[in-house]
Symmetry: C2
Subunit: 393 residues, 2 copies
Amino acid sequence: MNFEALLSSRTRLMTANAIREILKVVSKPGVVSLAGGIPSPESFPMDIMRELTDRVLTKYSSRAFQYDLTEGFIPLREQISLLLESRGITATTENVNITSGSQGILDAVAKLLISKGDKIALEAPTYLGALSAFNPYEPLYIRMDMDDEGLVPESLEETLKTNKIKFIYLVPTFQNPTGRTITLERRIRIASIIKRYNALLVEDDPYSALRYKGEDIPAIKTMAPDNVIYISTLSKIFAPGLRIGFYVAPEFLSQWLVLVKQGVDLHTSTFNQALAAEYLKGKYLDSHLPEIISLYRPRQSAMLSAIKEKLPGEFACSPSDGGMFLWVTGPCGFDMIKLYHKAIENNVAFVPGKFFFTNENEGIETMRLNYTMADEKTIAAAMGKIARAIDSL
Amino acid sequence: MNFEALLSSRTRLMTANAIREILKVVSKPGVVSLAGGIPSPESFPMDIMRELTDRVLTKYSSRAFQYDLTEGFIPLREQISLLLESRGITATTENVNITSGSQGILDAVAKLLISKGDKIALEAPTYLGALSAFNPYEPLYIRMDMDDEGLVPESLEETLKTNKIKFIYLVPTFQNPTGRTITLERRIRIASIIKRYNALLVEDDPYSALRYKGEDIPAIKTMAPDNVIYISTLSKIFAPGLRIGFYVAPEFLSQWLVLVKQGVDLHTSTFNQALAAEYLKGKYLDSHLPEIISLYRPRQSAMLSAIKEKLPGEFACSPSDGGMFLWVTGPCGFDMIKLYHKAIENNVAFVPGKFFFTNENEGIETMRLNYTMADEKTIAAAMGKIARAIDSL
């Protein structure tokens, strides 16, 4: 059969996976990967997992294995409502919805809102998983400027003034890929702008709990609640393999998003939601989160030191107080793809930054470095190899 | 904000939820529901769940909580490959893909293949969950005739001859909503027709393991492997709340479907896949499936008897050897919506059959009865109430 002829028109937008090709070599034995975007398995609370599963089996029994509400398992929504309160976000149990990872809500938002050709405003660079959720619905992307203080508010305003934007997508805190955080002062201005323009913001916040220094900055959701779909996840503070994301959206959109999700997966795993509910209800997060931070903080320090000490002076790192990534910009015109191939020869991998930009020729001299998956010593050694690869070019 | 103005063009197709409205009363206290479509919690292997969770924690530890392949957790794919072998379907571990329930693959197939206005051929009546997966991609539906022996092959051939069909969607065994099964003779003809027309069949098989009498009939996939995406699930033979579906598709489509799924949920819960892998690897299904069948067989018998003994002679039931549903057709023009409201007054619910048809005025005199959620005595009493409601009309 000629299956190619059967593909839908949207499918062609799903082919841009050059990054997959380039990262294939990462799994070569002996390669130290600073390319990943995943939490360390040491960060999972394995010491209490048996206690949690036992508790769920005893407390919920077959209910944890039955079909459940598309909106989410009520005991988990109650707990997430409390978690959000600690982040300054007001949401009742009914306001909280659970999805299969935050990928699930990114897909639902795109499916609900994007007609072909609709314009989505994005930070440049932006999170690739969001693009893979949005692409199949055939949007156009409008890039907005960012610097070390995050999204530039003037660029947002200019974008809203000159375009009809369906929604804005931001990762304001410890952004993937840059590790950057939008400052409080800018958040206040951004909130004011989206209210003034009646714009919808999709605020993706997977990393804010992973803060290694400085003080928490409130989500934009707290400043413009009626204009923001706030998205977060338990992947970085519990376990990613359980696929638990959550969101709080304006009521009208919430109802639609539930209907969308029903067609996609009916609901998120009841058992996993019950595990997450017991994790939060038992206050395990309170004691476990400091452990995760103690694991990652020295890794981030080690990488920051290595960048400063080992890379040539023209390689600058964006400041970052948390999350999983650091972002390095080389001298103007420096080709990180070339460096990537050189580094791979020396058994070190990272992600060339150009893949995180929607414009073809942007970000050629940038790179994303992950520090959650390797220990300090390994990070220092790997960065030494990258430095030598730079020298050899 | 005017959120309504933000909705995409596809969204309007998601509004057809009259069935939701009508079923809202079902959760009224005291109502016996024959309206559901869910397995009995008594059918879950709760006696071994602690053993399974313990085993997964010991065997896989943090690996069961980490991100995993979009294609699925390899130990589960190995086991599903063996399960499929027992159904006569040849698939290597690599050929098997895991999704978040079979809803997940229905969504992925639709997203991959349906452009607006594409024609999908369906049995009339058909499975509602498939429609809720397909609708957002804006297809047109072509209805095909079925009778007590399942899809009428001549109707399929006529449909393929006169339309450009993107794919055919069938539930050949113990169909939802009718409980009907396509006979072996017809399957052979259907396989021959789809090969002759180079047509793609999406064969959805959630129920075939739940056979209460008669002999297994091979899937159409076994007769036309290159033309069929075969879909199944562990929801009816393990636990639906774990959301484990699986499929085997022609290689070209498989690769695309994985890319589609990546944008929707990255992957299905690793922990739940590990539980399912241990359930199958430990051969628990072999001993547990007969228990599920022993639970449901007398319930089906009780309902068949009650239909025969209590309903007026003009109410005919489609023969069914398994699954979860029976399908009753009243005398021509009999309005099952009216009966529904009358039955609800007497605290019994069912689903009027018209909701399972894509054509507006079809199936007015039909009803779907579920027998998995109530015991024999309750079923008999509920059917008595329906009989009295019929008398009173």
